[in-house]
Amino acid sequence: MLTTQILYALAGCVLLALGVRGALLHASVLLRIVAINIMGAGVFLLLIAVAYRGPGLAADPVPHALVLTGIVVAVSATALALALARRLQVERDDG
């Protein structure tokens, strides 16, 4: 198999695992949201690496479309998570 594909896919696995660890171990909500975003980045890296077919060959467009969708969904989920975090802070300050 292509070495490039494997190397980038491995980096994707590392990012995913680092993100899961960060999301579980950080106490701050914002840092957890960043960690979950890094998890997502790992998944995207994995998918794009799988789509790669080698230099000069067109890559598989289906994972590309999936990742594009994923990036937009990730940013909207992040926005919702941040709104929840802000509300949580307000509730805590009041109570």
């Binding site: 914002l30 969708t69 940013v75």
Partner: protein
């Protein structure tokens, strides 16, 4: 580039990706973590370019690095930095310290096991010959899809249903933020230099969004990249302290938010009435229908992302009065 140079480039790129992710997660300073995450997004955009995914590279640069970072930094504004004491891992007594340490190591080991399992599964998958059924089916049917960029063809034609649902997810997320509170107060008016920059930057961003939308049919680009660029123009205006950032209020705002899903559904249902499958465009019209849906989607995506940056529903009364009142209440802003 020769292959030796390419290997060095790959090695440097991978090292920076893993290093930046590690550094972003290792720190407990929220701002530092966010800025390292934004840097990671930019390096990832280069990696997408390297792996021949220019559409994803554009989206990552605009959304992953740009807007996500802006959202997170806006949320970190007003957060104490360094963090409150319970979040640093300074334990109260030795027993708790021991437990905490054991837990940290257990979680680290489990995450390593997760990575190991994934790598094993991947290597197993890579050792089999790869299926190329889908890419072949796409290139065989690309001529009938109405566009010549295969990624746009997948997003807006072959898997249009997924994109419709994705726009619904975006709409749901922004309605969720509306339910949780009001928009954050604006920023103070920018200085002369930044204001001058904004005067040039915003029209260029709007023009770029229009180009990306049009180019999406045959080159890297499309509604998502265009929408993100348009939203970036609004974010820049907001950062410069403008109270009018291109968002309508009241009924018009709701129309724009729903336009992406609405036009998509309208096209799908009309086709259904004409006896075609849901979102099964007739090849002769496919190009125009895709452009129509993408235009509506671009405005919806831009409005959604901008509202996400505001953090809630902007007040529908006189915008200037609200901004002034907020400025009086909070002199920092």
């Amino acid at each position: 580039m020769n292959s030796a140079g390419l290997i060095v480039f790959d090695a440097l790129l991978l090292l920076s990706i893993v290093g930046l992710a590690w550094a972003s997660l290792a720190t407990t300073d929220v701002r530092r973590s966010i800025i390292l995450f934004m840097a990671l997004g930019l390096v990832l955009a280069v990696a997408w370019g390297r792996l021949l995914a220019p559409d994803v590279a554009l989206a990552e640069a605009a959304i992953g690095a740009g807007l996500s970072g802006a959202l997170l930094l806006a949320a970190a504004h007003g957060q104490p930095s360094p963090l409150p004491p319970e979040s640093t891992n300074a334990p109260r007594n030795h027993g708790a310290a021991g437990m905490g340490m054991v837990l940290r190591w257990a979680i680290t080991l489990l995450c390593a096991a997760l990575a190991g399992t994934l790598v094993w599964a991947l290597l197993h998958a890579f050792s089999n010959p790869q299926h190329d059924m889908l890419p072949r089916a796409i290139s065989a049917n690309l001529a009938a899809s109405g566009v010549s960029n295969p990624v746009t063809a997948v997003l807006l034609n072959f898997r249009a249903y997924d994109t419709l649902l994705e726009l619904a997810v975006l709409l749901t997320a922004v309605l969720g933020t509306f339910a949780l509170g009001q928009a954050t107060p604006g920023y103070r008016p920018a200085g002369l230099v930044f204001d001058g920059l904004v005067r040039w930057l915003v029209p260029v961003l709007i023009l770029t969004a229009g180009y990306l939308l049009w180019a999406g049919a045959h080159a890297p680009g499309g509604a998502f990249q265009a929408g993100a660029t348009l939203a970036a123009a609004g974010v820049v205006l907001r950062l410069a302290g403008r109270t009018r950032i291109g968002l309508p209020v009241g009924f018009m705002l709701r129309m724009i938010m729903a336009a992406g899903v609405g036009v998509f559904l309208l096209v799908g249902l009309t086709l259904l009435l004409l006896g075609r499958p849901f979102l099964g465009y007739p090849p002769a019209w496919a190009g125009s229908l895709i452009l129509m849906i993408e235009t509506a989607a671009m405005f919806s995506i831009a409005a959604t992302l901008l509202l996400a940056f505001l953090g809630g529903q902007p007040e529908s009364t006189d915008v200037n009065a609200v901004a002034n009142r907020q400025r009086e209440e909070d002199p920092r802003c």
